[in-house]
Symmetry: C2
Subunit: 210 residues, 2 copies
Amino acid sequence: MTDPSAPSPAPTPPARTRREQIHEVASRLFSQRGYHGASMRDLAAELGMQGGSLYAHISGKEALLIEIVEQAARQFEGALMDLQTDPRPADERLREAMARHLTVVAGNLESATVFFHEWKHLSPEAYARVTAWRDTTEAFYRDLVAGGVREGVFRADLDVKMTANLILSAVNWAYTWYRPGGRLSPREVADRYAGLLLDGLRPPPKEATP
Amino acid sequence: MTDPSAPSPAPTPPARTRREQIHEVASRLFSQRGYHGASMRDLAAELGMQGGSLYAHISGKEALLIEIVEQAARQFEGALMDLQTDPRPADERLREAMARHLTVVAGNLESATVFFHEWKHLSPEAYARVTAWRDTTEAFYRDLVAGGVREGVFRADLDVKMTANLILSAVNWAYTWYRPGGRLSPREVADRYAGLLLDGLRPPPKEATP
DNA sequence: CCTACCGATCGGTAGG
DNA sequence: CCTACCGATCGGTAGG
């Protein structure tokens, strides 16, 4: 990691790194085996330590789950929320939001899987925080759709809630099938999905030539 | 359940009922707490028996998971597969497939949740069977989309795989938000989703009036 | 970060 | 379907 010919201006703090390693391996194990199916001894073994040694770095198993899930929630939030003040028309904002959302999912498949599957095992307080984050994301997409209707970029007769549900389905469900190194980048998936949603499956109407 | 004024022509076999009760409660517990988070003693307690007594009815915990997951898979298959020979145009077939798919999800929220979350805990043989079922469903939607393109009902430039992914996202993700007794029936959700997918979010082009 | 250990709980079985 | 039990494993701690 360190180039011996160069000075090392900012030595990496090692304590932080170890915690991050634990988080990373825990994300993988929780996503593969589920929260209850992955044991602290499994986790320790993957890091080359004994089970009890983990507790020098973390306070417990649930704290690990909380941090993984809340970090994922913060990433979704950080990717989307500044789009609320974006001046572009709603169709462009939709394309951009889907691209960012899919980029977070695709770039964090393991913690996204933990976020979607294991959040129900959180203690009531953390559970409530995650529920609030989910509601915020849903409201973001509903507002985007409603804004598009107001702008005249979207149909006036849209069911705003169902439209937001459909968009969320597309970007969230990607955690089940998207694999890095596949045919399409997250942005390409977003472009195709947004194109389908905006223009629909039907062929464009022919020029009126009776 | 039995009308005392009427003769009972086919007495219900009680052994089958007990197994079905176990399946039903297991679906709920597995969906709420996850496969590894739900214990056999939890399950027995909900049925008013001791942990060991379950094994008079079932062979083990994993057999229970296999049966729940495979029953769900069979329901999806049974709902969709006869549509392959349906003579209607692809847009109508799409609407019907989504309605049936959503009806299975909405009518079996617990086992659908187990199907989507816990199948990764199956033994290799059952895992392979479920994977094959998933592939069949994906192929069904890809064929439907490709058929629509051939018929001229869908745009010629569709990305068939991504279109099928988008449809599957819509109908599968419903397990996370659909609740019985909500605003819309599964069929109404399907109608709205199919309408959005077919016609898109953009307003219809005005009649050419220059 | 390790050794050694705690009480609790796990899936499952024997014998009735 | 129950009682009583099996060995294994769980999350976590004490003391170094």
